[in-house]
């Protein structure tokens, strides 16, 4: 099962180069920004004491702050939120609803190259 998860991650990273999706509208991105600030920023934001950012920084290569990434895909984001990764726990739908998660994904992929 662990291997299955790793496999999933690999598959997802391969999908990063997959074809573009329909561009989300600006309202959706703004909503996503708000939800991101509420649910993701405390761990993945800028500044001191942000373990999510620190953890990604330790991994290196890509920007550690999620908002600066342009390579995240919507399915990857959803997988991390719904399944967790390392010490990041999964989030329930009473915390981050599917609609909120769509918005977060829209926000974090807003600068992706098509």
């Amino acid at each position: 099962m662990k291997n299955a998860r790793v496999g999933l991650l690999l598959a997802l990273s391969l999908m990063i180069t997959a074809p573009a999706f329909a561009a989300p509208d600006q309202d959706q991105i703004e909503k996503g920004h708000k939800v991101y600030d509420k649910w993701c920023f405390p761990c993945h934001g800028t500044g001191l004491g942000k373990p999510g950012t620190d953890s990604l920084a330790a991994r290196g290569q890509k920007p550690a702050v999620l908002e600066e990434r342009t390579d995240l895909t919507v399915p990857a984001i959803k997988t991390f939120v719904r399944h967790g990764v390392l010490f990041m726990p999964m989030f329930r739908k009473t915390e981050v609803s599917d609609a909120d998660l769509d918005a977060i994904a829209a926000y974090l992929t807003r600068n992706n190259k098509p």
């Binding site: 662990k2 373990p51 620190d54 010490f87 726990p89 989030f91 329930r92 009473t94």
Partner: protein, 525 residues
Amino acid sequence: MRVPPGVSPGDFSDAIKQFQQAIGKEWVFTSDEDVDLYRDSYSPFWHEQEEPIPSAAVAPDGVEQVQAVVKIANHYKIPLWTISTGKNLGYGGSAPLLGGSVVLDLKRMNRVLEVNDKNHYALVEPGVSYFDLYRYIQDKNLKVWIDPPDPGWGSPVGNALERGGGYTPMRDHFDCHCGMEVVLANGDVVRTGMGALPNAKTWQQYKYGFGPYVDGIFSQSNFGVVTKMGFWLFPQPEAYLSGNVMVSRHDDLYALVEVFANLLNSGTVQATTTVVSPLAFGRDPELATLRASGSTKDLEDYVARKNVAYWSVSLPFYGSAKVVAAQWEYAREKFSVIPGVKFQDGASYRFPLDADQLAKITNPVPFGVPSLQTFSIGGSHSQGHMWFSPIIPMTGEAVLEAQQVFDQVFKDLSGAPGVSASFPVWSFFARAFVIIYFFPIEHDVEKNRRNREIFKRLVKTSAERGWGEYRTHTAFMGNISDAYSFNDHALRRLHETMKDALDPNGILAAGKCGIWPKAMRKAKA
């Protein structure tokens, strides 16, 4: 679809249908995908059969919906497991203790009902997080602090009910609550303290009300579902100052702790800190060698040579700028009975902190600002953790004894990865130290099995020494409850008597803190 233990599939699907009618279809989760979101991300049973996974989850939005759910559960004898924000990570997360329970997820009940900055209190629902409450207070520009625990996404209600601790003078979270609303197993709503008085004017100002004070039995228990809770807040103080006290010899610990306890009990120091040996964490290779094989004398020599401390405690002071300076001065005077003691001024702040100041503070929790900084603890590759947290006396003797005893357990079991040989002791609570041992969780069955064995051994050893845990992961609640056994488990038997009377069908949080409903006690026996 998974079915709760002892419930027929037919009954369960009827119950699910009624849950859906009561709270709306979208808030009853039954698909594997949705239900898996309720697994404990930091489960020590990861990839094992024993991992307790719920059968479904229901998320009511309001006390009437909670009542409806509880009544349905009673009718079909469905075991429920209540969570507030579900972020009790390291102690069980959002997963039940009994596999197949239906999680009663109160996250949607996230209203901040009142924040009063004249009498300094808040009334909140269980789904409110420390972040939510902080934001509310900031938005309204109120001059009150909350007291967050290390992780800010948890629930003030949930954390207080688990009897967690924070860092400011309001650090004992259960102690600082005032008034509850509870849905009982029969679906009835009670309000405690002054809340029992209709139109009460002091529900959040006087804890006890009239007659038996029942609030305590809803903490670390399964006697009800708390749907509202009041908290006393700390008005924003003028200033903060910290001062570090360093002593150079091993045996100085006795006097260090004695003076420290006196300062706590006399109200000079009013907040959480930790007594620590910096020697336990230094990265110097020479120090590492001394730690492994050196004598106390060797370590004392090292301390003298390198001009470091054998033990230290950093004292936090809250108050007016002049007062915190005077308190620190008085503390220095008191510690001066220890020959060779050294002092170092620490951080100093005036409140409110502006954005720039706040940005420079890695851990803002001691200033009433919630954070997730604590999750750095396991390093970037951590897959989670759980805590072993025994209460020990606030004496140097106890600290040394605990260190020696627990070190021996680790040695006997040839160590546990990531567990430090030495440890800080914390003053989260007024009078006793609590040790918080970090146990890594891995997605590795063998390592987790081994860690569980070590954990159980620690619980047992701890009990033999007269130390008990203040809180634990659901996986060990039975073990710890077993340890609190005075007079043939008289306390647990009383809890069971009450459980049977208040929740005859045993629907609420079966097994929580060792309390099982009658039917399951019989099955186990």
